[in-house]
């Protein structure tokens, strides 16, 4: 394992009426960790805690040794792909992606160029003006992934990124995630139900069971 840069240390959180979660996990730069677990095991809760949508009861979440708990979601060194509601349905593909670079939605030529390049990279060249409703499930997911990647934050969180993709597209997107993680030295945490995704992505795998994370050796 390399130097741990995203550190989730003894983070406790509880939803009303169910036992508290107690998360500990480290993800290094350039590393992919795939997290699996049964429904309700707390996978999305962990993502929300790292993103800053939930506040832990205790524990620490740090990046490069510095706590990020006091930062609002947009200022955390994290770029996330959520399981649902991943696109603004009324905005076209280009605007959806450019918001990752400029949250005011007023991009210059440089930003537009980067969007065009990113679309080409994910196999959707020329789709800038399309609305999300005009895309297939796989294409929507890739657009959301493009926005996640274009933010260039050192930590990438992907919640069920392959859910709506066919096998061929899964392989392609997994290869893209693998390549970008290595090239940009990202700390990538990927939540997935499918054990085959661990094989696709390589790296370590971990399982959430009874509110705790159990690490597995690299497969």
């Amino acid at each position: 394992m390399g130097v741990a840069v995203l550190a989730v240390e003894r983070v406790r959180f509880a939803w009303p009426g169910i036992p508290a979660y107690d998360f500990t996990l480290r993800v290094a730069r350039g590393e992919i960790v795939t997290l699996s677990g049964a429904s309700g095991s707390g996978k999305s809760t962990l993502i929300d805690l790292i993103c800053g949508f939930l506040r832990p009861l205790s524990g620490e979440i740090a990046w490069d040794g510095v706590s990020i708990l006091g930062l609002p979601p947009a200022q955390r060194p994290v770029s996330a792909l959520f399981q649902t509601g991943e696109l603004f349905e009324h905005l076209d593909v280009g605007t959806n992606i450019v918001l990752g670079l400029d949250p005011r939605g007023r991009p210059g030529p440089a930003e537009r160029g980067r969007v065009t390049a990113m679309l080409a990279e994910i196999g959707l060249a020329g789709f800038e003006r399309r609305l999300p409703a005009q895309l297939s499930g796989g294409q929507r997911r890739r657009v959301a992934l493009a926005r996640t990647l274009i933010r260039e934050r050192p930590v990438m969180l992907l919640d069920e990124p392959f859910g709506a993709l066919d096998t061929g597209t899964r392989d392609e997107v997994a290869a893209l995630v693998r390549r970008l993680t290595a090239e940009r030295r990202l700390a990538s945490l990927i939540v997935s139900h499918d054990p085959a995704d661990t094989e696709r992505l390589g790296g370590r795998s971990a399982v959430l069971r009874e509110g705790r994370i159990e690490e597995r050796p690299a497969g």
Partner: protein, 542 residues
């Protein structure tokens, strides 16, 4: 941060509640000189209260029954031409000025109306003057409120998830079971709120009762306040009537606060339900739907046709040359546009604050504030136009001439009148947008004006257009405060129509009624279309 989120809504709610509160304060202060105990024993006041209650209850009952039948018929006949016509009628009635509707109802059901002509031709006794009094008030209230109920009930049926209709069709449920297991659970959620709203609208009814009521025996509290203040100048009586009205309406409004403000949510519904429901082909359903269509045509469509037919005379061509008409038209247009703009700003701020309070991801600790906020936006139902006008008159007595402030008072009353409808139109969409986009916006740092421009406005522009169009249409047709303060120097189109009707200039009144109807429809259709934009407020969805 929290204060910044809530401040616009707090200011908007304070403006609405402050206007009403000032009126109540002025009336309560004036009540110091009134012997309320003696007033409450007054047989006239008791009679008026009894009639107000009775007509409101009966109007609510009949409106609910016809509205429910119409909603079921439209849902059951989804896609059919008749269903589209019923929908159109509901929209027309929603924006129809009350004075215009009263003119149409008289044309159909009056002493010399269509029904009387038809009865005479058949050798049957005509309705005579029976329209004036309870029958006329009920007809008019059902004309307006059955379509409103139909819209609410239809939205509830349309929001039933497709899966439930699939199961009903799969199991071959009979009409009675469809009602029991699928429709009633959806209707039950919205019925108390809808009935309470209609009861209050009928309880505080003014223009319709003024034109169709027929004297002291059939008068609502609102009309009685107007008569006491403007005609008899008996301020003590006006104050005691106002206090009684405010007390009753506030009690009903507080009871209503227990019921959900959002009338329908459509998760899992695509509109398929009406096309696959198993009772579409049943004989009973067909007969019921046909009977509903006939009844709706008699009560809602006939007065509309009468206004069109009655107004298309030479008097319509003379209107543009009538200085009084031109003056009234200009005043009405300016007030309607200003009212629509102010209403929508206040409604947006209140809806934004409300979603901040009720969404579990935002400020759950302050969720209790949502109830008072709803009351503030619906304050007009407790303090309607005439009470507001009386309060302003009493507050300004000795300081300024209330008549000089008539345009401001009319504007304020129109804003309060439209506010509950505008808030309801906006709050569902804004809450849905927040539930959908909050996390994404927070993670990307989309905040403030950028969020309004990029996210809220595009997703809610159709609702904003509807709210603005409805506000303008309601304002342009309102005969409320202007009835108290209208004069030759300040008149609106509804006031002019009422004035001409009162002078028995029936042809001129019919022409003004048609012009007013066209203006309301023009506002409604035009503003909604402009606000919805080139793509009709495109909303993509899968």
């Amino acid at each position: 941060m929290i204060a910044a989120r809530l401040l616009p809504g707090l200011i908007a709610a304070a403006v609405a509640a402050g206007l009403a509160g000032a009126a109540i304060w002025a009336i309560a202060a004036a009540a110091g000189t009134v012997d309320m105990a003696a007033a409450l024993r007054d047989p006239y006041l008791r009679g008026v209260t009894r009639f107000t209650f009775g007509q409101a209850a009966l109007s609510t009952l009949f409106s609910a029954l016809l509205g429910l039948a119409a909603a079921r018929a439209v849902h059951r006949r989804a896609g059919a031409r008749g269903a589209r016509v019923l929908n159109l009628l509901a929209s027309l009635a929603l924006v129809m000025p009350t004075t215009v509707a009263a003119t149409g109802i008289v044309t159909v059901w009056g002493r010399a109306g269509w029904v009387a002509d038809a009865a005479a031709a058949l050798g049957l006794p005509g309705p005579g003057g029976a329209l004036y009094g309870l029958p006329g008030v009920l007809l008019a209230h059902v004309f307006f409120n059955a379509p409103l109920m139909a819209r609410i009930f239809h939205a509830a049926l349309a929001a039933v998830p497709d899966g439930r209709w699939r199961i009903a069709a799969h199991l071959g449920l009979a009409e009675r079971e469809v009602w029991r297991f699928v429709e009633w659970p959806a209707i039950r959620r919205v019925a108390p709120g809808a009935c309470g709203l209609v009861f209050l609208l009928c309880f505080t009814s003014f223009a319709l009762v003024l034109m169709l009521g027929g004297g002291p025996g059939a008068s609502t509290l609102e009309v009685a306040i107007y008569e006491a203040a403007r005609l008899d100048f008996d301020l003590d009586r006006a104050v005691s009537l106002s206090l009684l009205q405010i007390g009753i309406c506030a009690a009903v409004l507080l009871a209503l606060a227990r019921f959900p403000a959002e009338w329908a949510a459509g998760a899992g519904a695509t509109g398929l339900g009406g096309r696959i429901r198993p009772d579409r082909a049943g004989t009973g359903a067909r007969l019921a739907d046909a009977a509903t269509a006939v009844l709706a045509a008699a009560i809602v469509a006939a007065p509309l046709v009468a206004i069109l037919a009655g107004g298309l005379t030479l008097d319509l061509l003379r209107l543009p040359f009538d200085p009084a008409f031109r003056q009234a038209l200009g005043t009405s247009v300016v007030i309607a546009l200003a009212s629509a703009a102010i209403t929508c700003m206040l409604a947006w701020a209140i809806a934004e604050m409300r979603r901040t309070l009720v969404l579990p991801t935002r400020l759950p600790r302050l969720a209790w504030l949502a109830g008072p906020l709803d009351l503030a936006s619906a304050v007009y139902l407790a303090v309607p136009a005439i009470v507001l006008g009386l309060g302003a008159f009493l507050a300004l007595r000795g300081i300024a001439e209330a008549a000089a402030l008539a345009p401001v008072l009319v504007l304020a009353a129109n804003v309060l009148l439209s506010l509950p409808f505008a808030v309801r139109a906006l709050q569902g969409r804004l809450a849905e947008s927040a539930a959908r986009h909050d996390r994404l916006c927070a993670s990307l740092g989309i905040t403030g004006l950028a969020r309004i421009r990029l996210v809220e406005f595009p997703t809610a522009r159709r609702e904003l257009g509807f709210a603005m169009a409805l506000s303008a249409a309601l304002s342009v047709g309102d005969l409320g405060v202007v009835a108290l303060f209208g004069s030759e120097g300040f008149r609106t189109l509804p006031w002019l129509l009422y004035e001409r009707s009162g002078r028995y200039q029936s042809e001129a009144a019919a022409a003004i009624a048609l012009a007013l109807l066209l203006l309301s429809l023009g506002f409604f259709a035009g503003i909604e279309r402009i606000a919805a934009g080139r793509h009709g407020g495109r909303r993509a969805g899968r």
